[in-house]
C-alpha cells in the first residue's frame, strides 16, 4: 500500500494534548490528521488510567481519563480530524520551506506543511520479558502480536500471560495449533470470566495445557525456538517444547523512532521555545510531555496551553500570506461558525 495523503498538519499522538491541538488548529482553519500507535484515542488517559480520576483540569473538578478523552473528542468533532490508529510514524523529513513528508509503518505517506509531535512518553510498545537472548528470536519465533493466524497453524505454541490478550489468542489459536500451552504465573486470570471458563474447559478436555510459572530460559537456533524452561511457583523447572512463543505482559512507553528524525533532543525530550513550542527544525513542533523547556511541567493543562500557542505559529506556515486576527470563541461569529454553533 502506498497512499499519499495531503493535509495541513500531521499530529503524532492522539492523547489529550494531540486531540486538543486539533481544536486550536481547527479554529484557525488548519486541517489535521492524527497518527497513534494505540488502536484507540486518548493516549495515556486511555491506556494507563481510563477509570482513574484527574483533578487538575481547569474548570473540571473531577474527570476520568476516559471521560476527558470523550469530552475532547466531542469538542473537536466540528473539525472532522482524520485518525490513523494502530500505526506508528517511522519517518519525518523536511522536504522544503513549510513542507514535510511523514511516513508510517503501515506504508502511508503524508505531505504536510507542519508536524506536531504530541507523543507524550513515546510509543506504547509491548513489554519484553527479561529472558536471556530473547531478542534473537523476536519476529522469527517470538511474537508480541498476531498479524496472521495462519502463521501459527500446526505449530507448538506457548502463550504467556493472564490477561485478555493472552486468553483471546489462546482461544483463537488453540484450534489451529498442533499443541498450545498457556503459561501464567498464578492459577487466577484477570481476563474476561467467559474466556477463562472456555480456557479451563479446553484444559479439562485435554485440548491444551496450562502451566503455572514463569518462563526463565529459551532454547533454539537461528532465531527458531525449540523449547522454553518454565519455573514453577515451588521453584521446580520444566521444559516445554515449542515452535513459537507469544508473551503478553502489557505495554510500556518507549521513545521510538523520534530520535531518528534529526530533531534536537535532550534526555529523550524535544527542547522547544516557549513562544511557539517549535523544535530546532522550523515547522516541527513538540507539545505535551515529549517537550522540554525551562520550568516545564508534565501536566495536561500545560500541553493545552502549548497547543494554543503552537497553532498561532503553525498558521504562518499553512497560510504564509494571510494575517491572523486574534478572536474569542465567546464573541466571534466566524469562530462560532467553525464550531457549528452560530
Amino acid at each position: 500500500m502506498n497512499e499519499t495523503i495531503k493535509t495541513d498538519v500531521v499530529i503524532i499522538g492522539a492523547g489529550p494534548v494531540g486531540l486538543f491541538a486539533v481544536f486550536e488548529l481547527g479554529l484557525l482553519d488548519i486541517k489535521a490528521h492524527l497518527v497513534d500507535i494505540l488502536d484507540k484515542v486518548g493516549g495515556q488517559c486511555a491506556e494507563l488510567y481510563p477509570e482513574k480520576p484527574i483533578y487538575d483540569i481547569p474548570g473540571i473538578p473531577y474527570i476520568t481519563g476516559q471521560g476527558l478523552t470523550q469530552a475532547l473528542m466531542e469538542q473537536i468533532k466540528p473539525f472532522k480530524p482524520t485518525f490513523h490508529l494502530g500505526e506508528m510514524v517511522t519517518t519525518v523529513e523536511k522536504t522544503g520551506e513549510a513542507a514535510f513528508r511523514v511516513g508510517t509503518d503501515a506504508g502511508k505517506t503524508f505531505e504536510c506543511k507542519a508536524v506536531v509531535v504530541a507523543a507524550g512518553g513515546g510509543s506504547f510498545q509491548p513489554k519484553r520479558p527479561p529472558i536471556d537472548g530473547i531478542e534473537a528470536y523476536e519476529e522469527k519465533s517470538v511474537f508480541y502480536a498476531v498479524r496472521k493466524m495462519e502463521h501459527f497453524r500446526d505449530k507448538r505454541l506457548l502463550v504467556v500471560g493472564g490477561g485478555d490478550s493472552a486468553l483471546d489468542w489462546t482461544l483463537n489459536l488453540q484450534p489451529i495449533a498442533r499443541r498450545l500451552t498457556l503459561v501464567h504465573r498464578r492459577n487466577e486470570f484477570r481476563g474476561a470470566p467467559d474466556s477463562v471458563n472456555k480456557m479451563r474447559a479446553l484444559v479439562a478436555s485435554g485440548g491444551m495445557d496450562l502451566k503455572i510459572g514463569q518462563v526463565t530460559a529459551l532454547e533454539g537456533a537461528d532465531g527458531m525456538l525449540a523449547a522454553a524452561t518454565v519455573k514453577g511457583a515451588d521453584g521446580s523447572l520444566s521444559r516445554v517444547e515449542c515452535d513459537a512463543m507469544l508473551p503478553f505482559f502489557g505495554l510500556t512507553m518507549r521513545l521510538g523512532p523520534v530520535a531518528q528524525w534529526g530533531v534536537k533532543m535532550e534526555n529523550e525530550l524535544i527542547p522547544v521555545d516557549t513562544a511557539a513550542f517549535e523544535s530546532n527544525i522550523p515547522g516541527l513542533f513538540a507539545i505535551g510531555d515529549i517537550n522540554t523547556y525551562p520550568g516545564k511541567l508534565k501536566l495536561i493543562l500545560s500541553g493545552f496551553h502549548e497547543a494554543a500557542l503552537m497553532a498561532q505559529k503553525a498558521y504562518r506556515y499553512v497560510y504564509p500570506d494571510k494575517k491572523l486576527v486574534f478572536q474569542y470563541t465567546t464573541s466571534s461569529t466566524s469562530l462560532q461558525k467553525k464550531l457549528g454553533v452560530a
Binding site: 513489554k127 493472564g162 501464567h184 484477570r190 502489557g250
Partner: protein
C-alpha cells in the same frame, strides 16, 4: 556485588514532632539507600523523590503499569502485607514476581514501616 552505601537523607527532620520513618532501598547491584519518608506518601513516591534506581512508575501511581515493582524484604513482608486483588492482577504484567513482590505505588508509608527494606529489580519491562 557492589555494596556501596549511600545514606542519602539521614537528618533530624521531624513532622509534627514525630520522627520520619526511614526506608531502605537496595538496588539489584547491591547499592543501598537509606532515606526518610513522609507518612502517607507511597514507597514509589519516596523512591522517585530520592532518585532510587530501578523504579520507573510510568503511570504515576495509578496501579496500571506495573513498573514500580519491588521485592519486600522477607522480614518485612508480613508487616507490609499482601497486595489487593487489583494490585495482584497488575502483578501479572510484571516480571520475576516473587511471593513478597509488591507495586511500590500501593504501599503507603506509616510509622509502623520505619526501617522497611525493599529491593528494586534490574528491569521493569523497559
Amino acid at each position: 556485588m557492589n555494596m556501596a552505601e549511600h545514606d542519602d537523607a539521614v537528618g533530624l527532620q521531624r513532622v509534627n514532632g514525630a520522627p520520619m520513618p526511614k526506608i531502605i532501598f537496595i538496588e539489584h547491584d547491591g547499592t543501598r539507600h537509606t532515606v526518610e519518608a513522609e507518612i502517607g506518601a507511597t514507597v514509589m513516591e519516596t523512591a522517585l523523590r530520592n532518585d532510587i534506581g530501578g523504579i520507573v512508575a510510568e503511570c504515576g501511581g495509578s496501579c496500571t503499569c506495573a513498573t514500580c515493582l519491588v521485592h519486600v524484604d522477607e522480614t518485612w513482608s508480613p508487616i507490609v502485607g499482601p497486595p489487593s486483588p487489583e494490585e495482584e492482577a497488575m502483578l501479572d504484567s510484571a516480571f520475576e514476581v516473587k511471593p513478597t513482590s509488591r507495586l511500590s505505588c500501593q504501599i503507603k508509608v506509616t510509622a509502623a514501616l520505619d526501617g522497611l527494606i525493599v529491593h528494586t529489580p534490574a528491569y521493569q519491562g523497559r
